[in-house]
């Protein structure tokens, strides 16, 4: 693809993203758009840690939950403006990420996986049981929305869409920069071979802590966005299922690629809603069954996910054209 047509495609994509909620007036679909954008951030942040840096974190929901609870509680209890809360939530999650990074200095594979799950589960139990602060399993409700300015308000799906879009764009911009720089290459070196990375001077311990912190920041940020959008959060945000959601989206989209989690998050959010119509017809819940099956099929037969498949296809087409 030439540089010019690439730019054109970008412009078209941006225009479509901006116009989308006006093209679709159905509030439910607008809601799905917002949800999928929040998951784009959440899944991408997991992808930075696991896909790029190779650190197998199964406790990512902890960051999601910390961001959500922190921003919500700061607004409810201390009256911190939600716009600031979004970032404070991210920062608190980042601090937790730094902490969770410490075990990764010594553990890998299943050991790291269980330790990270443990971390998230402990926090979930805290959210369930510290009733005075979190209202326990009832969850926090009445979370203030993002305050409006310049005559804009951010309470409807339509307007929140633009907040989520801006957030996702900001996050993806950061991920793109981070992964294409010297930092990103060093992370990938760490993923590919730790002794090899050490041998060229990469301080793998400090890189692990750094990437845990950054990934957690964006995980927390996405959680805080969700809190001010739904305005109701529960300890379920910290459950293993949320992590698995990000994992499934990323793997199906394409682990270790920038577009993978974006494709995965949007596709799975809408696929599961598409299936809702099927469910209404047959009266059974098939969405998560499809998630699980797709995850297995992707790993067994489609390494690199949808993005990997697409690249192989377009590379194949390119070769055909050269030969023909």
């Amino acid at each position: 693809m030439t540089g010019g047509s690439k730019k054109l495609l970008w412009a078209f994509g941006a225009a479509l993203a901006l116009a989308l909620p006006w093209l679709i007036s159905d509030r439910y679909i607008q809601h799905l758009l917002v949800t999928s954008l929040i998951f784009v951030i959440f899944a991408s942040s997991w992808n930075l840690l696991t896909g790029y840096a190779g650190q197998f974190n199964l406790g990512h929901a902890a960051f999601f939950g910390i961001g959500a609870y922190a921003s919500a509680l700061l607004a409810l209890k201390l009256g911190v403006p939600p716009w600031i809360g979004l970032f404070l939530g991210g920062l608190l999650a980042a601090a937790a990420g730094f902490l969770l990074g410490i075990p990764s200095l010594r553990l890998s594979g299943p050991y790291l996986a269980i330790t990270t799950i443990g971390f998230a589960e402990i926090l979930r139990l805290v959210a369930m049981n510290w009733v005075q602060l979190t209202r326990g399993s009832l969850g926090l409700y009445g979370i203030p929305p993002l305050p409006g300015f310049w005559g804009l308000e951010f309470t409807s799906e339509l307007t929140f869409y633009y907040v989520a879009l801006a957030g996702a764009a900001l996050a993806l911009f950061c991920f793109r920069r981070l992964t294409r720089s010297e930092f990103g290459l060093s992370l990938q070196a760490l993923r590919e071979d730790e002794p090899g990375a050490e041998s060229i001077g990469v301080d793998t311990n400090r890189f692990k802590l750094t990437v845990f912190t950054i990934s957690a920041f964006f995980g927390g940020f996405s959680g805080a966005l969700l809190a001010h959008y739904q305005r109701l959060i529960s300890p379920d945000l910290l459950s293993l299922h949320e992590t698995f959601q990000a994992l499934t989206m990323t793997i199906i989209g394409g682990l270790g690629t920038l577009t993978g989690p974006v494709v995965g998050a949007v596709l799975l959010t809408f696929l599961s809603e598409g299936l809702r119509f099927v469910e209404d017809a047959v009266k059974i819940d098939v969405r998560l069954i499809i998630y699980g099956a797709l995850l297995i099929v992707t790993i067994l037969f489609m390494r690199g996910g949808i993005v990997g498949l697409w690249e192989r296809l377009s590379a194949g087409r390119g070769r055909d054209q050269e030969e023909g």
């Binding site: 696991t50 197998f56 269980i114 443990g118 369930m128 099956a293 995850l295």
Partner: protein
């Protein structure tokens, strides 16, 4: 006070025996095949549902014992299918990540298939003893729970004997210790893999029936036995069967005591706190060898 303490220790041992049973299956599969199966607890869930349906059909005693046999056979068979269809194709090329993620896919799939087939309503297994309690001086417990404990112990002992005496059992251990040498002895390791996975799954199924006897049964219950089994397995050193047996009891007792004397709410966190501490201090687990 003292009798409460003893009572909780007894309760812990009973729960711990079930943890041990489920974890032994997980640790065996890891030891021989290097698979960390996050769907392991869902095999227990299937075992528990087999008991639900069998007990509805044949109530009482016979049904309970029968459901142990049926769960072992049914879940063992399921294990063979899963090993063949999901894990075997990955055997030659997987990384830790691929393999764990495929098992997570299996976890999501099984949990939701169960929801589809069995409905979301929690079930319980009826007590064939009609709630008779046994009084043993300072402590008492229901006959049902005592039988659970006895069954778990019998199964563990039978397994130990099998692994240390039977030709196939010793071959399983040999393969876990050195795959290449095992092949050079004429051991068909693909067969060993199938047998190990079937056996490990059957243990999960048996554990599921006992677990279902002690706790409620519902489609998404599998996550808890999976996590407990991993805690126990890591505590005992991954792949170490005796380590898993002892650690199962340790976790069971630590949980009930922690639940009584520290906090009921955080009972399920105790295991995680223990392993995070253990992993940070002794990465090979309590019973792991210090080789690397």
């Amino acid at each position: 006070m003292e009798s409460l303490f003893l009572q909780q220790v007894v309760n812990g041992l009973i729960v711990g025996s079930v943890y041990s049973l489920i974890a032994v299956g997980l640790t065996m599969i890891f030891g021989v095949m290097r698979i960390s199966n996050f769907a392991h607890g869902d095999f227990s869930m299937v075992g528990a549902y087999i008991a639900v349906f069998l007990l509805a059909w044949v109530p009482g005693w016979m049904g309970w014992v029968g459901s142990l046999l049926a769960a072992a056979a049914g879940v063992g068979l399921l294990g063979i299918l899963v090993e063949r269809g999901v894990f075997r194709p990955l055997l030659t090329r997987w990384t830790d990540l691929d393999q764990i993620m495929v098992s997570i896919g299996l976890f999501i799939l099984m949990e939701n298939l169960a929801q589809l087939f069995f409905g979301a309503t929690p079930r319980t297994l009826s007590d064939p003893f009609g709630g008779v309690t046994v009084n043993m001086g300072l402590v008492s417990t229901s006959a049902m729970r005592l039988l659970c404990f006895a069954m778990a112990m019998v199964i563990i002992i039978v397994l130990e004997v099998y692994l240390n005496r039977a030709r196939m059992g010793v071959a399983i251990q040999a393969t876990a210790q050195n795959r290449t040498a095992a092949q050079l002895m004429g051991i068909n390791i693909n067969l060993i893999y199938a047998v190990t996975f079937a056996l490990g799954s059957a243990l999960a199924g048996l554990g599921g029936v006992l677990y279902g006897t002690l706790f409620a049964i519902y489609p998404t219950m599998g996550a808890i036995p999976t996590l407990k089994a991993f805690v126990v397995t890591i505590l005992g050193g991954m792949g170490n069967i005796r380590g898993a047996i002892f650690s199962g009891f340790i976790l069971g007792v630590a949980e009930t005591l922690g639940g009584t004397y520290i906090s009921m709410e955080y009972k399920h966190a105790i295991g995680f706190v223990i392993i995070i501490l253990v992993l940070l201090i002794i990465p090979n687990g309590l019973f792991g060898r210090s080789e690397k």
